[in-house]
Each structure stands twice: as structure tokens, then as C-alpha cells.
Subunit: 235 residues, 2 copies
DNA sequence: ATGTCGCTTATTGTAGACAGTAGTCGCAGA
DNA sequence: TCTGCGACTACTGTCTACAATAAGCGACAT
């Protein structure tokens, strides 16, 4: 997701960076259950580092919403309620809309290269029925699409919320399957969205985006009872 | 800004929390110049703590955008370019709009108590010509207004970007003066905005908000040359 | 039998010290 | 005089160790 080399410079990644990425990946992979206690000592053993860099990494993940910390009572993997899911989806959608309002029509055609490449990857993955790759490419596509606004803070906020959406999806098998029932169609919708943006038609792009959102996670995951059973309540 | 007691529980604040607040306050107060190097050793002496909690605090401030860190080359106070200011203002405005779209008309009247109280404080401060208090109250008012959406992630994102706007303002004397040329009028505009929200008229509130923004920081700080001279370029 | 007090243990919060790297200054050679 | 190399300095990155607090458990008193 985040490149190992942060923004240009070429440096050996610090243990904090490595620990952050590793932990985030593990949580997204479901290796730690929601609400599970994250004890520093255990994690240092697992990662082979000492506590200070681990603690800094956990601070970062706390800011990103992956873990919650109570002073002197340790940290736990974030537990997502239905309410949290609603928050994530609405905020993500709003940030995407803002990106279009600011960035469409595009001034500098260069910014279109990234989403173009990503959508081609998506189509590749769809043909090969590579579901995992499609998720990755889709992630990059949306991030690149927001990038056309050339708005660093917006992109960062978007990436943060998008990661949290991955967390939702990783915990919701029903949605994960339904979301990708037709891989080709899925990729095609993204292609259409990109074409609207390329055409510089903001309204069309926004409409496409709205339809896009409707068909995706938000509407598939309808029944509230299901949410509660899958995500549980916050302690 | 942030209450010393984090969200309900009553615990002695950790040194990390104290250091974070203290450093943020110092940066906002202009005690550290933009681009100034923040050396860990010096800061530990000043704050009377050791490096681990300080480093965790700096991680937090880095996430919040107050400082930038280059690996093995230390941290510096964030330098804001005109582009940064544009980002902050557009994002802040968009988040406020989203809050209204989600939260107006209000479902639970209780959420109106906080903005009501804040606007009264503003009017108090305006009458007493307490400019500092007015800034504080205005900060709380807008935060409380976003709070009506009852959307935790939105509120957090908003507070973060609002803090950064404070950083802009603290570095721009011209704007700071112009912004508050007529204290009473300033408070009155906020009262009007609140009334639109209370009436449950989303469109009116959004329109009011747009006008509100127009008259504030964004439009006052017009000349781009001035920005550059005041904020400098990013290194 | 139940509630409370105190101890024990595990875990977090903090401190201080060590290691490694980047920047800087000086010197030598061309 | 200028350029390149090398040592020095100062800082960040990391580790180990200590202190303090909270939860768990048992014993005692009521």
C-alpha cells in the first residue's frame, strides 16, 4: 500500500516504519481478532524489535484508527460497529467527491497516467480472475483518482479512510464475495468512471461515482442485523 | 483544544499526551519558527522528559501535519506554502459541508447544545472585545457544529485540519487582524449560521456556510505574492 | 457466605545508555 | 586556489533496564 520508501528519498526504512506496515498488514489479514489485546512484549518477540520503536508504530496505527489505546490498560485491535462502517463509507465517498470537484477537468494530463495504469491492471486481473490482485489494483485506482486533485492532505485522508474500509471488508466475507461476483463488469465500471474524468465532464464523473458507490460495498452490505452479528458492538 | 482527559476516562495524562499538547501549543504560539529544526535532546531538556515519550509525541504531531520528519535527518516545524494553505482551506470547507449534509436537519436536539453554548461565548467575547477568547470560542463553535453529524471520524478529521488552519493564521498577522475587524459582526454571522441549522434548513445552512467561508480567511488572504512572502517555499 | 482488603504478578510508562549515520571542517594534493 | 578525502562531531535510531500502575487472586473479617 504505502511504498517502503517514503516520498522520494532512498533510505533504509526505520524499524518504526517496518513495524507499522507489518502490524497493519497483520491486522488487515485478520491475524489479530477485533478487540484482541495487543501486548507490547509479545509483539516485540514476534517482530524481533524492542519496545520503543514498537510503541511509536502503535501510536501511528492508533491515529489511523486500527487500534484503540486506553492509558495504562493497553491497546486492542479496533472493533468496528455498524456505525463505524457507516462513518467510513460516508467519509470515503465525500472525499472522493471533493477530489472530483477540485480536480475535474484535469489541468495537467500527467496526473491521469496513474489511474490509467491502475485500471489496466484491474482489467488484467479481471481476465486472469485474480481476485487478490483486483483488490490491490482497485485500491491503487481509487487512490490515483483522488490524486488528480493534486491535494496532498486530501490524498492522505483518503488513503487513511480507504485502509479502514479494507479493514471492514476483510471482516465481512459475505460482502467480499458479492462485491466481486463479476470481475469483468467490476473492472469495466472503473474504466467508465475514468473515461468520464478524462473527458473532463465533472457532473458525469460525479454521477458515475455515485452510481459506482451504490453498487459497491455500501449497498451490498445492507441488512443491519448482519452488521451487528459480524462486527459486534464496541466494548 | 483537546481536553486533558481523553474521552471519558479519568487518568493522569501520560507524558506523551502532555508533550504533544505542549509542543503543539508552542508551535501554534510561534515559539518555533517554520522550518526550524526540532532537536530531540533540546526538547527533552525544555520539557523535562526523556526521549522515548518525546519521540512518540513527535510521531503524533507528524501525523497531524505540524512537523515534517526526514529519516536520520531530524524533524522540522512544518513550512506552509500557498499550496498548503489552499489545501487546508478547501478540505476544511468540504468537511464542514459534509457535516451539514449528514447532520441537517438534526435528529437529536441534544447535539445543538454545544454550538449554542459556543456561540453565546463568542458573543460574550465580542462584547468584551476579547479577541483571544473569540478565537477559542469560534474554534469550539465550528467543531461543535461539525459534531451535529454525530460522525466521529469526520469530527476528528475536521479538528485536525482546523488546527492546521490555526497554524496558518498564527503566521499571518495581516489576516489575523482583518479577520476580526468587527467582532460583533463576526459573532453575529455565526449566530445566523446556527439559526439556519436549528431551523433544519440544510440548503440555507449550506448557503450560509458558503457565504461564511467567503468572508473569512479564504478571501481575506488574497494576494498570492503575499502568501509566498509570508509562508516561504517548502524546502 | 460475602464483601473487602492487601498482596502478587504481569504489563505499561519512562529513563538512560549505546550504536550508527549524516553533516562539517580541515588538510593534503593537484 | 580548488577539489577530494578523511576524521570529527552531533544527532537520530535503537536497546536494555527500572519504576509505577492496574488487574487478578486469595485470605480475612464481618
Amino acid at each position: 500500500m504505502t511504498s517502503p520508501v517514503e516520498s522520494g528519498g532512498l533510505h533504509a526504512p526505520s524499524l518504526v516504519q517496518l513495524a507499522t506496515d507489518s502490524l497493519r498488514k497483520a491486522i488487515l489479514a485478520g491475524e489479530y481478532a477485533p478487540g484482541e489485546r495487543l501486548q507490547e512484549e509479545r509483539l516485540t518477540e514476534r517482530l524481533g524489535i524492542s519496545r520503543p520503536p514498537l510503541r511509536e508504530a502503535m501510536r501511528v496505527l492508533e491515529n489511523e484508527g486500527f487500534i484503540v489505546t486506553q492509558p495504562r490498560r493497553g491497546s486492542r485491535v479496533a472493533t468496528l460497529t455498524a456505525e463505524d462502517v457507516r462513518e467510513i463509507l460516508t467519509l470515503r465517498s465525500a472525499l472522493e467527491r471533493l477530489a472530483f470537484e477540485l480536480g475535474v477537468p484535469v489541468r495537467d494530463p500527467k496526473v491521469l497516467e496513474a489511474p490509467r495504469q491502475a485500471v489496466e491492471e484491474m482489467e488484467d486481473c479481471a481476465r486472469r480472475e485474480d481476485r487478490g490482485g483486483l483488490v490491490q489494483a482497485g485500491y491503487r485506482f481509487h487512490l490515483a483518482l483522488v490524486g488528480i486533485a493534486e491535494h496532498r492532505r486530501l490524498s492522505e485522508a483518503y488513503e487513511s479512510i480507504q485502509r479502514q474500509q479494507l479493514l471492514c471488508m476483510s471482516r465481512n466475507l459475505v460482502v467480499r464475495e458479492a462485491y466481486y461476483e463479476d470481475l469483468e463488469h467490476h473492472a469495466a465500471r472503473h474504466r467508465t468512471l475514468l473515461e468520464s474524468v478524462e473527458a473532463g465532464d465533472r457532473d458525469a464523473a460525479l454521477a458515475e461515482l455515485a452510481a459506482h458507490g451504490e453498487q459497491s460495498f455500501a449497498s451490498v452490505a445492507l441488512p443491519p442485523e448482519l452488521y451487528r452479528s459480524q462486527f459486534g458492538k464496541r466494548d
